[in-house]
Amino acid sequence: MEAIKNALDFSDFPRLDLIIAGSVGIAFIIFPLFPHSSFAMSTMIQFLMFSLYGMGWNTIGGYGGQVDLGKAQYVGIGAYTTAVMLILWDVPFWVSMPIGMFFSVIWSFIIGYPLFRLKGHYFAIATIATSLVLKDIFEVWDFVGAARGLEISPIKYHPPDFLRLIFKEDVYYFYVILGFFFMGILYMNWFRKSRLGFQLRSIKDNEDVARSLGINVHWAKVKTYAIATAFVSMVGSFHACYIKSIEPEDTMSLDISILIALMAMLGGAGSLWGPIIGAGILIPLKSYLKEWLGAQAGLVGIDLILYALIIMVISAFEPRGVWGIVEKIRRRKRS
């Protein structure tokens, strides 16, 4: 009961934040009613997906301070579980998604348990390595289509198919992911106030102090890593139904891992709104850069240069990102 109350309770935010958040939320809900291009719609869906990836990353990376650069492997596990189960056995999305989450969580325990013996940069590097290894395995694994990937052919189904999440119009996908998005915010609002959330913030600050306050540091990290994983895997499953064509290169590449971490850091790691703000800045930017500069001027890879610039700016000026700046200004005003 108290968990639900905490999830719904946003009263520790200033009223201004809640008004902005509420208006943006309503704007999202009514967005499809207004005329929009399919490009704008797909950017919106991408934005919501990456917000959710970012929220997942934010548990372990933001609140826990364990920089994880291997989230793409869980996008892959989620996406492949859903795609394989749908294509081979006609298993609906709502069944395969939890199964994908289950696989992801198992895998996260297998690699998280030893990996969390590492600290700082070593942990980050190790997560990259496991993600790349898993991608390489998928690239040669015939059962999942190897490097060619898998194709969900919509002709076999009768859209709109709400069970299998096969739609013709993007607007259906938009509302499904928007639902996940709101649930994600509620979950994160609970998480940041939960016992585990407090323990992680203590761990981020000083592990020895956390230990002496009775916190099993290693187990808390492994647990949180599993939560982050479940988030990412869930959206990965959605990705499979939405994109309908998945291959290791575009579901599990390092780009995606970095983008997930970068967004959360840009918006403000360790804050509720951070990943959403980060995704709101980066995803449209990325889409437009790709669409205009990339395609028209042949400047492929301009988005990568941009990521590098953002990393440098964040680490040089405000490690806590956009939200860090907002909080700094507020504190200055108050005192």
């Binding site: 108290e2 905490n6 106030k193 939960s194 016992r195 407090f198 323990q199 913030r201 203590s202 600050d205 000083n206 020895d208 102090v209 956390a210 230990r211 002496s212 306050l213 009775g214 916190i215 099993n216 540091v217 504190r331 005192s335």
Partner: protein, 247 residues
């Protein structure tokens, strides 16, 4: 059986004897000071007792249970809390959030942790600081927050590592009153490392002295301040000879 028993505790850092065969006991309800010159091994001893360092040899028994091999978080869960000398408190958490981290050891419920934290802050007279970030506060208040956080975990024994370091005489009075309050009114057994002699000698029932990793003396504050070995450790051999202390 004593409340805390340390038997022949030895901690060896690759040839450096940080703690050499230290034995002592603590009774429930005592307030014991641990003193010694810099580098005597006081903080190492705390780290060994609280489980942060695995000890080289020896045995630690707390409330009848052998805790020698337990990990730090397991030791804490058995009611042995501590504060840190250098570390103050998580800077980007507010005061009450810091204390809540401690309280969350005993409860899963946020409301209960919050209520308990509020209670402790009121008890230590710092409830007006609840919503400040810890790094916005003066050092004396930060030290109280660390104490409050440790108390949040509902300890039976509290190890305080130099809570008075860097404070002015007024603030030392204040923190001394707080330690007394924790000990006398909350009923927590306290062991404290302290360099501020006025504080240690005034407040402690008993004082243990370390020098070069060994226990060189133990007794009531009065006797300790006259003990030639202690004076030698602090002021050197020559001082003892010239002033004929203790002879």
């Amino acid at each position: 059986m004593a409340f805390l028993e340390v038997h022949d505790l030895t901690k060896n850092f690759g040839g450096l004897m940080a703690n050499d065969n230290i034995s002592f006991t603590l009774e429930q309800g005592e307030l014991v000071g641990l003193i010694g010159p810099n580098g005597a091994g006081k903080t190492t001893l705390f780290n060994c007792i609280s489980g942060l360092y695995p000890i080289t040899s020896g045995q630690i028994v707390f409330a009848g249970e052998d805790i020698t091999k337990l990990k730090a978080h397991e030791v804490a869960q058995r009611g042995l809390a501590r504060t840190f000398q250098v570390y103050v408190a998580a800077g980007d958490l507010t005061v009450i959030e810091n204390v809540m981290v401690g309280c969350f050891m005993r409860t899963h419920l946020r409301s209960r942790a919050r209520a308990r934290a509020t209670e402790i802050l009121e008890d230590l007279n710092i409830d007006d600081l609840s919503d400040y970030l810890v790094n916005e506060l003066p050092v004396a208040a930060q030290k109280l927050v660390t104490m409050a956080t440790a108390i949040g975990s509902d300890p039976k024994l509290l190890l305080l590592d130099e809570v008075a370091a860097g404070l002015n005489p007024n603030e030392i009075e204040g923190i001394m009153a707080s330690i007394r309050h924790v000990h006398d009114d909350m009923g927590i057994t306290v062991m404290l490392i302290e360099h501020v002699m006025e504080l240690v000698m005034k407040i402690s029932d008993r004082v243990i002295v370390l020098d070069y990793g060994e226990k060189i003396a133990e007794g009531d504050p009065e006797a300790i301040s006259k003990d030639p070995r202690v004076i030698k450790a602090y002021l050197g051999e020559r001082y003892v000879q010239e002033h004929g202390v203790g002879q």
